[in-house]
Structure formats: C-alpha cells, structure tokens
C-alpha cells in the first residue's frame, strides 16, 4: 500500500542503519521469542493484582447488587457509566488508526496500528464489563436482545438508544476483533515458521494455515480495505449512539444535538492519548525506537491537539447555547457545572482537555518524549472528568430542588475503576508477550520507500535534487525528527 518512490522531503518512517527484512522480523519478535525481562514481570504483577481487585469488587457487586455503589435516588448513573464511556472512547483510537488512516493512505499508521487495535479490544472489554455490572442483575443481561419475553409476546423497544447501544457495542467489538486478527495472520505465520516444538504447534493452530502466496495476499488486501471501509462509519456510529444514550433524554445538560460530534471528537482525543501513554513506554522498553519514531509521536500529538481543540469548541458551544436557548433549566445546569459544588470537576476537565493540549503547539513540547507522556496522561484524566461532569453534575441537580443531592463514590466504585485499569494493562502486557506488537508485514512494506537508510542512500548517490537532500538532512537535525540521533 505504499508507493515505490516517496518525496525526499517526507520524514522517514523507519530509522536506523542496516535495517533489512530479517532485522525487522528479529527486532519485533524479541519480546515474543524470549523470556520476559524484569520490567515486564514487575508491570505484569502490579497489573494482575489490580485485575484481581477488579474481580473481587465486581463479584461483590454481583453478589449484593448495585447498592454496593455510591448511587442514590437522584444520581442513578455515576462512575459506572463514566467508566463505560471513558473506556469505549479510548477504544476509538485503535479503529481510527487502523481504518481511517488506512483509507487516507497514511503510512505512518503501519507501525502503530497493531498495538492500537489490541488496545481497542481490551478497552471495549473493560467497557462491556461496566455495562453488564451496571444492569444490577447481570444474569438477565440477555434482556436487551430481541427475544420475546416470557411474560407475553412483548419485544424490546427498538426506539431506545440503550438497545441501539447493545447492537453498536457488540458489533464494534466483534468487527474490531476480526479486523485485528486478520491483520495478525501473516505475522503469526512468521512466528510459526521460526518456532519449534510446542510453540510451533500453538502458532500453527493460530495461523489458520497462512502461506503468503499471491492469492493469500491479494485476498488479504481486499479484506483489509473493505473492513477499513466498514469500520470507519462504524466507529463514528458507536460513539454517536453512546452519546444518544444521553442526548435523547430530557435531562438538562444532556438534551443537546451537539453530543454526537462532540463525543466522537472526545473519543478520538482520549484514544490517541492512551495510545501515546502506552507506546512511549513500549518503544523504550522493547527497543522499537527505529519503528516508532519521533515523527510518529509528533503526528499523534498533532491529532491530539486537533481533537482537543474540537472538544474545547464543543464545551464553549454548550455554554453559549445553554445561555442562548433561554431555557432556565439548561442555563442552571451549566451554571451549576461551572460554579456549583462540582466546580472542581468542571475546571479539571477544562484545564486537562482544553488548555494543556494547547502546549503541543510548541514544537519543543510536541517532540519531547517526557512532555508527551505526561500530557497524554493529563488528557486521560481530563477525559474521565468530562464524562463525570456530564453524568453526575447533570443528574445531581435537575428539575426538583427537593431531591438535589451530592454523589459520593463508595470504596467498591473506586476499586472497580482502578481494577478495570489493572485488567486493561494485564491484557495488554500479555498481548505484548505472545503476539507481535508491530505489524511486521506492514512495516516491511514501507522499508524500501520510507526508511531513513533508503533516503540517505538516494542522497549519497545523487538521485535527488541537491537542495532537497540538504533540506531533508537539515530537518532531521534541526527538528530532531529522528530520535536515534539523540539516543
């Protein structure tokens, strides 16, 4: 999917010297083919302990019911749906990278799509567990499915966004899984053909018999393109429908038409922040610096600043429309958000999501690994607060002042949230051990067109205009686009 000749002015997507096809295989498979190091074990132990906390607290919730949470008569949705929307949003970056950037032929996606897609799947698993546990009686979780219920021949109400959500999330999860696994087939075959013994058997089963013949690849490419085509509207529809869970209600602060685009932008924003959080660590620990370069980091930071600004515009629009609508309930809902008892949540959200990403306008900050990592975590925190602000501050004071209350999370609420993060990291760390974290075949595809060594060779051999070659070399130094110059 790459052109054979690429402008010399473009930044290289693979850096380092003497990169060959076999070196790519070796480099990417280091964590899969070797025993994990200490850092992995420490990370995995901590994550698994938190995942255990998740198992305990979710089981406790199932046992005693959602009374275990801090909910009350007025605030019936709080950390559960906050967590659900937060995780679904995080999942969106994976599909965006793998599908939308594929359609736009952005070759820099090739080295980050695999881990981002894995992240999508794990994030949606975390989100789905929230949905199931917030139902209160999870053993009846099949009720929103279109089955005739036993009290008569009444069907589910297809006018309800909650039913749409069941279809949207389950479609999203299964299609993402299929997309991810199809992409993995050639890479699993690579592991299979290098392995021996029991490992070979396991990877043989998992590889489905991939051989890499012409017809295999031709069909593979057709499938990838179509899946990208259907996933693109799918990912937009999923968060649109999630936002309709709120927008179709009559709750002040929720009942707004801006929700779908605002939620989708927020989802991409938080998703890229999470990709950044994970990949900055992964590239360092696993020595992927040649494949996930400063250019990749910078590109993701640019997407973060764009989507962060869209989210910022949405926040301001909400405030303006609340005032302009002349509806006093709506006006109060927003006044309460800004200056009510939850003012700190609102202003944390504003600071983390709107103000801090603006720092990425500075090239120095955009290309600093430490700054990118810290800001990506800040964005994740901000996006959690966004959902908390939308859900809890809208609910806790609505039409009846006599039922105005505050929401206080219980210990179980906190444990489920921390535990879901543990579950996510447990799954992600396991993924890094057993499957290639970078799409090997797709990186090989751009080796001959977009790697630094090829571009340097073109310059040495005088195949490019002299001034363009100089510009290329200068930009590498000047903007430090190539990380290895520094490392």
């Amino acid at each position: 999917m790459s052109a054979h000749s690429e402008s010399i002015l473009r930044e290289p997507l693979i850096t380092g010297e003497n990169i060959t096809y076999s070196k790519i295989t070796e480099d990417v498979l280091v964590p899969v083919e070797n025993k994990p190091n200490k850092a992995w074990w420490i990370g995995f132990t901590v994550a698994a302990l938190f995942a255990l906390l998740w198992v305990v607290s979710v089981s406790y919730t199932f046992w005693v019911g959602i009374g275990a949470w801090g909910l009350n008569k007025t605030v019936g949705w709080a950390w559960d749906i906050t967590g659900f929307v937060w995780w679904v949003g995080i999942g969106h970056a994976g599909t965006l990278i793998s599908a939308v950037l594929l359609l736009f032929r952005q070759n820099w996606r090739n080295s980050i799509n695999r881990s981002a897609e894995a992240m999508t799947i794990f994030a949606v698993i975390c989100a789905a567990t929230y949905v199931v546990s917030h139902m209160g009686r999870p053993w009846l979780a099949y009720w929103p499915l279109p089955l005739p219920n036993q009290f008569g021949s009444l069907w589910v109400n297809f006018n309800s966004p909650l039913v749409w959500d069941v279809f949207a999330i389950s479609t999203y999860f299964s299609v993402s899984l299929v997309f991810w696994y199809t992409g993995l087939l050639p890479d699993i075959a690579t592991i299979r053909d290098r392995a021996a013994g029991m490992r070979k058997r396991v990877y043989t089963v998992l590889s489905f018999g991939w051989a890499g013949s012409v017809k295999n690849w031709q069909r593979f490419e057709a499938v990838s393109l179509i899946l990208a085509g259907v996933s693109t509207p799918l990912v937009l529809s999923v968060h649109t429908i999630v936002s309709m869970d709120f927008a179709t209600s009559l709750e002040p602060g929720w009942h707004t038409t801006i929700f779908p685009p605002y939620f989708v932008a927020g989802a991409i924003f938080s998703g890229f922040a999470m990709v950044q959080t994970l990949l900055l660590v992964v590239r360092k620990v696993m020595n992927f610096e040649n494949y996930i370069t400063m250019f990749h980091i910078e590109s993701m930071n640019k997407i973060i600043i764009v989507t962060g600004s869209i989210v910022g515009v949405a926040y301001l629009t909400e405030l303006f429309i609340a005032w302009y609508s002349g509806v006093e309930y709506e006006q109060y809902a927003f006044l309460n958000r800004v200056s009510g008892p939850y003012w700190w949540a609102y202003w944390s959200m504003m600071t983390c999501n709107v103000i801090s990403p603006q720092l990425f306008w500075f090239k120095k900050i955009r290309t600093s690994i430490v700054a990118s990592w810290i800001l990506s975590i800040v964005v994740n925190i901000g996006m959690w607060f966004e959902r908390f602000v939308i859900i809890v501050t809208s609910l806790h004071r609505d039409y009846l002042p006599s039922s105005w209350v505050m929401f206080y999370p219980s210990v179980i609420d906190v444990c489920i949230f921390l535990g879901s993060i543990g579950l996510f990291f447990t799954l992600f760390l396991l993924f890094l051990r057993v499957l290639p974290a970078i799409a090997i075949a797709e990186v090989k595809l751009i080796l001959k067109s977009a790697s630094d060594q090829v571009k340097q060779k073109q310059i040495r051999e005088g195949h490019v205009k002299k001034e363009e070659g100089e510009t290329y070399l200068e930009s590498l130094k000047k903007y430090d686009s190539v990380d290895y110059l520094k490392v």
Partner: protein
C-alpha cells in the same frame, strides 16, 4: 534431478523477484506461485490473477444485514406487537436506522471473512502449505513446477541472472508440518 518437484528461486529483494518473474515469463516458463513476507503490488496482474470478488461478497452480505435488521424491527415493532410509545407511530423509520446500519456492518464483515477463510482454505489448525520457511520472514520466493517445465538448468540460469540469492530443488512440495 529427476526427483525434483519444485524449483524455488529465493530473492532478497521484491524488485529483483519481479524482475525474475518477467524473465521467466519472457522465456515461456510458467510460474506456479510466489510466496512473499508482505503484499507485492502489481504481482497479481503480472501473474494473470483475476481480481478478488470478495468486495462483491461483502456488498451482498451487507445488503442482507440491512434487510434482516429492517424486517426484524418491522415485524417486532410494527406487525407483531405495536407498542404505544407516547402516542407516536409504531412505524418510526428514523429510529430503525442505527440497528439496520450496525447489522449491515456486522453481516458484511463476518460474511466477507467467512468467504475469505473459505476461499483460502483457512481454518484453525490447518497444516500450512508452506514451501520454504523463510518465505514468511525475509525471502521472496518464486516457485516453478519442475514437472511441467522442461530444461531445469535454463530456469536456474534465468533465476541467477535475475539476482536470486539461493535456488532450491525441492523433492517435496510442502515443508512438513507433522
């Protein structure tokens, strides 16, 4: 030499392999298949493979999904048990759109994948039909059926000329996976 079933030309570079294919074709030597660690663009045209029909399958499955979604909701909400929801009409078309859309995507994706698996004979645990283990790593391999193409020495010469780094004479078709 007579036991040779397949001649494999190993190339280290995809462009060299394409060059090799051209050379062989110019000499009327038929190519059995090519095995590569990554997709090679233009190879299917060169070898005369037809376009994949998977997109057509995806479209048909997608349409099936749309119709399934629509008829399901219509049957349940309009025909079988119309509900009075705030006095609104039972046949509220805009509300049908999200689920029809999701089912379109679901059917298209899964139907196409099923066809993909079927056409490639992929299923979990299938013994891989691999001619050389390095084809999934760093070698671009042209396989030539030695039984149908005479003059093996000429084939070897042509492959070497095109820049093959290694030429194998395999007596078995596939690498054993037992």
């Amino acid at each position: 030499m007579s036991n040779t079933k397949y001649i494999l030309g190993h190339f280290a570079d995809p462009d060299d392999m394409m060059h090799g294919i051209e050379k062989l074709q110019a000499n009327n030597i038929s190519i059995y298949d090519a095995y590569t660690p990554m997709p090679i663009h233009g190879i299917e045209d060169k070898l005369g493979y037809k376009r994949s029909r998977l997109p057509i399958a995806a479209f048909c499955f997608g349409i099936t999904g749309t119709l399934t979604g629509f008829s399901m909701i219509y049957y349940m909400l309009v025909y079988d048990w119309p509900m009075n929801i705030g006095g609104k009409p039972a046949f509220s078309m805009p509300d049908f759109v999200p689920i029809c859309f999701e089912l379109t995507v679901l059917f298209a994706a899964f139907g196409m994948m099923a066809c993909f698996m079927y056409a490639n004979h992929f299923f979990p645990g299938r013994a891989p039909r691999v001619m050389d283990l390095r084809a999934t790593n760093d070698r671009f391999i042209i396989a030539i059926d030695a039984r149908t193409n005479p003059y093996p020495d000429k084939i070897v010469d042509l492959l070497t000329e095109a820049g093959a780094v290694e030429i194998l004479h395999n007596e078995r078709k596939y690498v054993s996976y037992e």
